[in-house]
C-alpha cells in the first residue's frame, strides 16, 4: 500500500458526487453486462437474499405444520416443503453466500487487484447461478420435489412422483457456478497479488476463501456427475444405482457425500474467514497465531475430503471402512478447534468493542462451538448409530450452518456494509436484531438436540404426541428467528437510501479495503498498491506468549 493512513487516495472526505462503482454507470444493461466484481457481488447479494427468504418461508411453513403431532398440512406438502427448503438453502444460499458476495467483493481489493483474474467468467458464474435457480424454482412452481436435498437413489431415480429432474438440473447448473467462483479465487490469489502482498500477509479471509475454492474445484464436479448419472437413470428407468440390475444405491451416497461433506466446509470456511477479520478489527489486534489459523483452513480443506463415510455408518458400509472414516472425522475437528481457541485468545490484552459485527462474532463462536462439539457425537460410531436420521442431526448441522455460517454472513455483511454501500446502518436496531436472532436461533434448535436423542426422526410430517412440547418450543423459536432476519432487511434497505455516509474506514480497521474510498471506484485502486506491512497491523508486535 502506497500509504497507510486512511483516505489518502483521492480526497480524504467523501464528496457527495464522488464517482464510485455504484454510480459510475446507470441502467439495467450496465448491471446485467457488468464485469466489475463489486457489481457482480451485488447482483449475487440480491439473488441469494431472495433465495434465502424463499427457503426461509418454507421453513416457517413446515415449522407451523409441526405445531400439531398429526401435522397441519398433508404429508405431500410437508415433504415438498422440507425438500425445497434444503435444496434452496444449501445449493442456492449457503454455498454461494459468502464466497459469491463478500469474497467476490473483497478478495480483489484485499490482494490489491483491480478485479478477479477472470471478470467475464465471474459474470458467467452469476448467470449460471440464475439459470440453475430458475430450473429449481420451476420445480417449486410446478409443485416441488419431495426427495430431500440429498436426492437418495432409488427413491429419487425411480419412486418419486415429483419434479426431480428439474430440481436436480438446477443443482447441476448451480454447481458449475460454484466451480467457476472457486477457480476464479484460486487463480486470483495466485496471480493477482499486489507487489509485497506475500502469502504470509494475506488476510485470513483470503486464506479461508482460497481453501474454499480448492474444495469447490475438487468436490463439485463429483456432485455434478452424480446428479447427471441420477438424471440419466430417471430418464432411462435403469441405471447404475438401480438394485434391480444389481446396482448399489449406497454407491450414490458415496459419490454424493464425496462432494456434500466437503460442501459443509464450503459453507463454513468463508464464515470462519469473516470471523477472523471481525475479531481482529474489534479487538484492535493481530489475530492470535496467524499461521495456525491460516494453515488450519488448508488442513480443513484437505481433511474434509476423507471423512464423508461418517454419513453412512448405518447404511451397511463396511465396518472397517466405517472405523477409518470415524477416525478421520475426529481428525478434522482439530483444525476447527484451533480456530476457535485462536479467536478467543485474540481478545486477550486487546481493546474490545461491542459493535454489531462483534456481537455476531460472539454468536458465531458460541454456536459454532456447540455445533462442532455435537459433531463429535456423530463421528463416534456408537452414538452415531443412536442419533443418525434424527433431529439430533438436524440440530447439529443447523448449529453449524445457521448458528455458524449465517451468523458469520450477517456479521460480515454488517462489517463491510459501509464499504459496499458507503452508508451506515442504525447501530441500535442492528444490535437488537443480533440479539433477537441469537435467542430465536437457540430456542429453535436446542430443543431439537433433545428430540433427537429421544429418537424423533427427521423428515416426519407427523410425530408421536410426547414430542409436542419440544416441537412447539422449536416453532416458537423459529418465528422469533424469522422476525430477527426481517429486521436487517428493513434497515439495510433504509440505509441504502438514507443511511449516513460511512467514510472510508468507519471501524478503524486495517487492510487494503479500508484504505480506499467507500464505495470503491470501479478499478478499486488509482494505482496498484505496494504492500509493506503485515496483515492486521494494529501496532508493533510487543509480546510473544509462551
Amino acid at each position: 500500500m502506497a500509504t497507510i493512513a486512511h483516505g489518502t487516495h483521492g480526497t480524504p472526505e467523501i464528496a457527495a458526487e464522488e464517482v464510485n462503482y455504484l454510480n459510475v454507470e446507470h441502467g439495467w444493461k450496465s448491471w446485467l453486462l457488468t464485469t466489475d466484481h463489486k457489481r457482480i457481488a451485488f447482483l449475487y447479494l440480491i439473488s441469494i437474499t431472495a433465495m434465502f427468504f424463499v427457503g426461509g418461508a418454507m421453513a416457517v411453513l413446515f415449522r407451523i405444520n409441526l405445531l400439531e403431532p398429526e401435522g397441519i398440512f398433508s404429508a405431500e406438502t410437508y415433504n415438498r416443503l422440507f425438500s425445497m427448503h434444503g435444496i434452496v438453502m444449501v445449493f442456492f444460499f449457503l454455498v454461494p453466500s459468502i464466497p459469491a458476495t463478500l469474497a467476490n467483493f473483497l478478495i480483489p481489493i484485499m490482494v490489491g487487484a483491480k478485479d478477479l483474474a477472470f471478470p467475464r467468467v465471474n459474470l458467467l458464474s452469476w448467470y449460471l447461478y440464475i439459470f440453475g435457480a430458475m430450473f429449481t424454482l420451476y420445480a417449486v412452481i410446478r409443485g416441488g420435489v419431495d426427495t430431500g436435498w440429498t436426492f437418495y437413489a432409488p427413491y429419487s431415480s425411480t419412486y418419486s412422483n415429483s419434479y426431480v429432474l428439474s430440481a436436480a438440473m438446477g443443482v447441476f447448473i448451480a454447481g458449475f457456478s460454484s466451480i467457476l467462483t472457486g477457480l476464479n479465487f484460486i487463480v486470483t490469489v495466485h496471480k493477482m497479488r499486489a507487489p509485497g502482498m506475500t502469502w504470509g500477509r494475506l488476510p485470513l479471509f483470503v486464506w479461508a476463501n482460497y481453501a474454499t475454492g480448492l474444495i469447490q474445484v475438487l468436490g463439485t464436479p463429483v456432485l455434478a456427475i452424480t446428479i447427471l448419472l441420477l438424471a440419466f437413470e430417471r430418464v432411462a428407468h435403469v441405471g447404475i444405482f438401480d438394485p434391480n440390475i444389481g446396482g448399489d444405491p449406497i454407491l450414490f451416497q458415496h459419490l454424493f457425500w464425496f462432494y456434500s461433506h466437503p460442501a459443509v466446509y464450503i459453507m463454513i470456511l468463508p464464515g470462519m474467514g469473516v470471523i477472523s477479520e471481525i475479531v481482529a478489527c474489534f479487538s484492535r489486534k493481530r489475530v492470535f497465531g496467524y499461521n495456525f489459523v491460516a494453515f488450519s483452513s488448508m488442513g480443513i480443506a484437505v481433511l474434509s475430503f476423507v471423512v464423508w463415510g461418517h454419513h453412512m455408518f448405518v447404511t451397511g458400509e463396511a465396518m472397517y471402512t466405517s472405523v477409518a472414516f470415524s477416525f478421520l472425522s475426529f481428525m478434522v475437528a482439530v483444525p476447527s478447534a484451533i480456530k476457535v481457541f485462536n479467536w478467543t485468545a485474540t481478545m486477550y490484552k486487546g481493546s474490545v468493542s461491542f459493535d454489531t459485527p462483534m456481537l455476531y462474532c460472539f454468536g458465531f463462536i458460541g454456536l459454532f462451538t456447540i455445533g462442532g462439539l455435537t459433531g463429535l457425537f456423530l463421528a463416534a460410531l456408537a452414538t452415531d448409530v443412536a442419533t443418525h436420521g434424527t433431529y439430533f442431526i438436524v440440530a447439529h448441522f443447523h448449529y453449524v450452518m445457521v448458528g455458524g455460517m449465517v451468523m458469520a454472513f450477517l456479521g460480515g455483511l454488517h462489517f463491510w456494509w459501509p464499504k459496499i454501500t458507503g452508508r451506515l446502518y442504525p447501530e441500535a436496531w442492528a444490535k437488537f436484531a443480533a440479539l433477537i436472532i441469537f435467542i430465536g436461533f437457540n430456542l429453535t434448535f436446542f430443543p431439537q438436540f433433545i428430540l433427537g436423542y429421544l429418537g424423533m426422526p427427521r423428515r416426519y410430517h407427523a410425530y408421536p404426541p410426547e414430542f409436542q412440547a419440544l416441537n412447539v418450543l422449536s416453532t416458537a423459536g423459529a418465528s422469533i428467528l424469522g422476525i430477527g432476519y426481517l429486521i436487517p432487511m428493513i434497515y439495510f434497505a433504509w440505509s441504502l437510501k438514507a443511511g449516513p455516509k460511512a467514510g472510508p474506514n468507519p471501524w478503524g480497521a486495517t487492510g487494503l479495503e479500508w484504505e480506499i474510498q467507500s464505495p470503491p471506484t470501479t478499478f478499486n485502486f488509482d494505482e496498484t498498491p505496494t504492500v509493506t506491512k503485515e496483515a492486521y497491523d494494529y501496532g508493533p508486535l510487543e509480546e510473544i506468549v509462551g
Binding site: L183, P221, I225, L228, L229, I240, N244, G246, F258
Partner: protein
C-alpha cells in the same frame, strides 16, 4: 505462467474429478461383477476402438504442432494443423457414431429394449453398458465442445491474432484437447479390453 494457463489447469482438475465419479463407479462394479463385465467384451469392437485411439493420438500430435506453429508465429501452419486436428476429431466422432448405431441395432442400450444373449448377465451387463454410454457420451460431449473451440481458434488464426507474443488461447485449447485425449486413453482399455478374447 500467466493466469489463464493456471485457470485452465484448475479447470482440468475439475474435469478429472468429473470423470472420476464414473471411474469410481466403474471400479466398484467391475469388482462386483467381473463375469458380466468380461462378457461384454465380445460386443466391443476393438478394431474401431483402437482406430479411434490412434485417431485421437494423431489429433493430439497435430494439436501440439498447431501450438508450436503459434509460438513460431507461423499463421498458415496454425490454420493447417488446427484443420487437421478438427478432421481427426470429426473422424473420431463419426466412428463413435457407427459404434453407437451398432449398439442400438444389437439392443445394447440400457432402458431401450435391452437384450443380452447371455441371460445370466442380462441384469449386470446393463451396468457396464450404462457406464459405457455415460463415459463415452460425456467424452464425446467434450470432443464436440473441443471442436467448437477449435473452430474459434481457426477464425482467430485467420484474423492473424496469434503470434510468438500472444498464443495463450492456442495453448489453452491445446491443453483441453490433450486432456480429452488422456481420458480416452483410459477409457479404451477399461471399456474395450475388459475380457480375455478367445
Amino acid at each position: 505462467m500467466d493466469a489463464s494457463m493456471l485457470g485452465m489447469w484448475t479447470f482440468l482438475i475439475t474435469e478429472v474429478l468429473f470423470f472420476g465419479g464414473m471411474f469410481a463407479a466403474y471400479a466398484v462394479y467391475r469388482n462386483m461383477y467381473p463375469g458380466a463385465f468380461a462378457s461384454t467384451s465380445k460386443f466391443m469392437d476393438v478394431i474401431l476402438g483402437g482406430t479411434n485411439t490412434a485417431v485421437l493420438i494423431c489429433s493430439s500430435l497435430t494439436m501440439v504442432l498447431a501450438v508450436r506453429a503459434a509460438q513460431l508465429s507461423k499463421r498458415r501452419d496454425v490454420m493447417l494443423f488446427t484443420v487437421l486436428t478438427m478432421i481427426f476429431g470429426t473422424a473420431f466422432l463419426v466412428i463413435k457414431a457407427f459404434e453407437y448405431h451398432s449398439k442400438w441395432v444389437e439392443h445394447l442400450i440400457p432402458g431401450f429394449d435391452f437384450q443380452y444373449d447371455e441371460p445370466r448377465y442380462q441384469h449386470n451387463a446393463q451396468i457396464l453398458f450404462f457406464l459405457y454410454f455415460c463415459m463415452t457420451g460425456m467424452h464425446a460431449v467434450h470432443m464436440i465442445v473441443g471442436l467448437g473451440l477449435l473452430t474459434y481458434l481457426l477464425v482467430q488464426a485467420k484474423r492473424n491474432v496469434f503470434s510468438a507474443n500472444y498464443f495463450a488461447p492456442v495453448e489453452m485449447i491445446g491443453l483441453y484437447w490433450h486432456f480429452v485425449d488422456v481420458v480416452w486413453i483410459f477409457l479404451f482399455p477399461l471399456l474395450y479390453l475388459i475380457g480375455h478374447r478367445r
